[in-house]
Symmetry: C2
Subunit: 401 residues, 2 copies
Amino acid sequence: MDKNEEKTQVEEQEQDQVVNPWQVSSKGKIDYDKLIDQFGCQRLDTSLIDRVQRLTGRPAHVFLRRGVFFAHRDFGEILDAYERGENFYLYTGRGPSSEALHLGHLVPFMFTKYLQDAFKVPLVIQLTDDEKCMWKNLSIEESQRLARENAKDIIACGFDITKTFIFSDFDYVGGAFYKNMVKVAKCVTYNKVVGIFGFTGEDHIGKVSFPPVQAVPSFPSSFPHLFSGKDHLRCLIPCAIDQDPYFRMTRDVAPRIGYHKPALIESLFFPALQGETGKMSATDASSAIYVTDSGKVIKDKVNKYAFSGGRETIELHRKLGANLEVDIPVKYLSFFLDDDAELERIKMEYGAGRMLTGEVKQILTRVLTETVERHQRARAAVTDEMVDAFMAVRPLPDMFN
Amino acid sequence: MDKNEEKTQVEEQEQDQVVNPWQVSSKGKIDYDKLIDQFGCQRLDTSLIDRVQRLTGRPAHVFLRRGVFFAHRDFGEILDAYERGENFYLYTGRGPSSEALHLGHLVPFMFTKYLQDAFKVPLVIQLTDDEKCMWKNLSIEESQRLARENAKDIIACGFDITKTFIFSDFDYVGGAFYKNMVKVAKCVTYNKVVGIFGFTGEDHIGKVSFPPVQAVPSFPSSFPHLFSGKDHLRCLIPCAIDQDPYFRMTRDVAPRIGYHKPALIESLFFPALQGETGKMSATDASSAIYVTDSGKVIKDKVNKYAFSGGRETIELHRKLGANLEVDIPVKYLSFFLDDDAELERIKMEYGAGRMLTGEVKQILTRVLTETVERHQRARAAVTDEMVDAFMAVRPLPDMFN
């Protein structure tokens, strides 16, 4: 069977949009309802969000209020358990493929920090340096270097060192973690991973071997230094929805090897500046705002690249108002402008044509510059010793306090 | 493509005999010349054996003199390097699928001990408990228990603890070893492992992931506690020829990741009591003599099951002589009877019909009982502390002395 034929079965069923951990593309806007149907997850409804507010005694995070995290699997069961007084832990991760993170990369980490603070739970963060070494053909040394650099950006998001373990696969694979990898691998056929991930016969076996590596942090026994004797601790995974295939596989396997299925809470993709047909690329610099960008670069990128829903002429704009459905400045503000009233005002004024794209872009530039500069200050304070401390294999005695 | 079609490509090319790490079968006797051609290794000729004697100042091991180790890859280059005063190391292993070893399992270890003593070189022994867990559907705990039990039998072969590191994959995979696994996996496509090992789409991905695990002990950098800074140390692998597929793959990959190709010295299969159409099974007790068998059991098995080349009647036997080509007692004696003159006498007398099968079986029973009882005494002296000591991740400062 040749490569294209195999692809046919998997991806071109949904030819209008392709969403997997390595590719997010669509002919038009991503159809998230279709994705929810296709993947078989649930929409995150307001009753669940209300429950989060009630259980944690905090207002819901902006990413919850605005539907950035919009889908889930078994999130209700996590809340049930929490309400019964049971603990859980968070697991998220990053594939370190680039030196600097862009704003889209920050989204799951900002949200995970909120979850950690709100629920007071431990967190494991996987840096898949092995994955990036295999997919991007980076050297092991370069993948490991990028993992440490990315760890600094992650730490800069404000995680609590008494509740957070960051690990890289090249450092940590082995022992109980490797045993769980073998347990998972035994339960998944090659045909199955072809169906889920679209691998072909010409792909190297490193790719075929990788899904269990991303699966097993879902199981507490992969972290004996943290969760020894707590094999039934539940796991909640905040991630972008393109990671769902890994965890569909994981959830399929979990009960067969005696573990809970991990729960998921899944986000939209943070759109590229050029418009909402995919997620931003870590390698196309003009498609994204990086956390290393200066205020001037941010201003230039926003002005030059951010796709506008404004009309062709001022007259037409005053008459019709901006098309908010496609407008990137408004989308970006809905991620990063905390003030609900201010956001509503902008959407109202802009949508009615009383505000022009230039004004909205100016507000966006200010908001993003503040966000990025705050991040840069936090990152500058992260030392190598702090990275070592977060990545040390150690017990976390206060992780549930 | 269904399972059978895929098999067609790989195995039924050589339908008369199937030899891979999980299956050795043939319609008649294994055709080793054909196997050498098919695999692309070399026959071990007398000039190489003479060279071993000259370089080590010792008589060649009975397994060399009698062609038990009969094939090789680059063994000459190992001897060249040794002659130039360069060091090398030995790598062999075992898949711990059964409690007790049979005589066939001892063959590579007895020979490896001879090589270690003769060349005064370090040795790594891999116990592939992960492989057996995946192929035999054993639990991790049971695979690890069997690995430790098998380690005792291996230690009983007399290896030098100052030169020998025994490890199990479940214990040792990780760190530098895992990095080499990833390096190897990146260089091998799924189609390639299908071609080499005959995997099908219904096989689980643990199987697809495994070949790099068996490959990387061929590279000194997988053992930083032993060979740090010695990345160009050569490796010689004594094994039965059914393991050749792993090392064909390894040798193909090695230069692409900056390592020497490992050299191999490969043995015939130790035949089943019932005759020379495959290798003994670890699970069919009547096909093999186990190292745990008593003298009485050995006597019964030899008398009842050992396929005889003797003739149907004594008259016919006296006239035609035994057919030594198919006679199992003579085959077994050629492995385990050290005395060349005595073996020649038996073959002469038996082949001429002056000796009967019963007499040869009596000699074989004595020889095997001695071998097995010697092993049992040695194994009884192996303590758990010795196993721990051999398996400790530690430097071996005297390994080349």
